[in-house]
Symmetry: C2
Subunit: 145 residues, 2 copies
DNA sequence: TATTGACTTAAAGTCCACTTTAAGTTGTAA
DNA sequence: TTACAACTTAAAGTGGACTTTAAGTCAATA
């Protein structure tokens, strides 16, 4: 029976695979201060389950449009403790607001794309007006521009 | 009474404003073959309402994730006539499929971001468990990772 | 008529987020 | 023990989509 339960660790390559990044990307993120790696006796990085959770969370934030420099700011505030919670909250809420605006925009782009696809399908099957301009089609579908 | 009804035309600057781009961007798009500009006697570009519609449509396609080179391909096929409709349709449907996949991904990112915001708000107001880890909070909310 | 702003071109520069290279060290399997 | 994959660093390179610069021409207003 062991007195000390040693936590599972991962080399940078294993870690990279686990979070779907590459080893150079992990090093890049570390160089940007987004994460910190522990080192073994010969100077090699190793990572733990907690690091996996952290990177996955970072990737979620990144996926909502936060830049590396936004993330850096977030990380800096996090390291400063609970008194920066209002700052972090504001940053995240701004990110959310920006995201939602873009989200609505791309939704509209998708509508137009879908309309165009349907217009082509109609044209292809010759079902209706083979000559109906796309602009008229959009109008008929209740979309503008 | 005029025999010839002259269509309204726009300089590149006016045109750029109308489609919310810059004049250099318009020139860049023209250089990439995404649009063609007519020229007046002194060699200056001018544009019409039809060009506005076309660029706006291009921007919708671009907004769904099509790259300049995708758009170039689309434009090339369009110029070749109706026998390339299946090609165009396939391109647009692939674009749509890729878009929808990304769309679902960012939706998940947004959920995590929103959860984090709510977690911070809870922490701030001290309403519930000021010490509850975010991972536990996510679990409680029915989200993973 | 003079000035100013808008246009013209080709080419170089920018930004972001990595990615690749180069040169060297270390750990592991045969 | 020898090979070979994986690690280390710093620095340079990449890709996409513009943006900026430079040097010059043209059009409209005071």
């Amino acid at each position: 029976m062991q007195a000390i339960k040693t936590e599972a660790t991962y080399t940078i390559g294993e870690f990279a695979d686990l979070v779907n990044l590459t080893a150079p990307t992990i090093r890049y993120y570390e160089s940007q201060g987004l994460l910190k790696a522990r080192r073994n006796d010969s100077g090699r990085r190793y990572f733990t389950a907690a690091d996996i959770k952290w990177v996955k969370f970072l990737l979620h934030l990144k996926g909502t449009g936060m830049s590396i420099s936004d993330l850096k700011q977030y990380v800096t505030w996090r390291a400063m403790g609970d008194e920066t919670i209002p700052n972090r909250l504001e940053l995240l809420e701004n990110t959310q607001a920006d995201f939602l605006e873009k989200y609505r925009e791309v939704q509209h782009h998708l509508e137009i794309l879908t309309d165009k696809i349907n217009w082509y399908k109609q044209k292809e099957t010759g079902k209706t007006s083979g000559q109906e301009p796309f602009a008229d089609y959009l109008k008929r579908m209740g979309h503008k521009e």
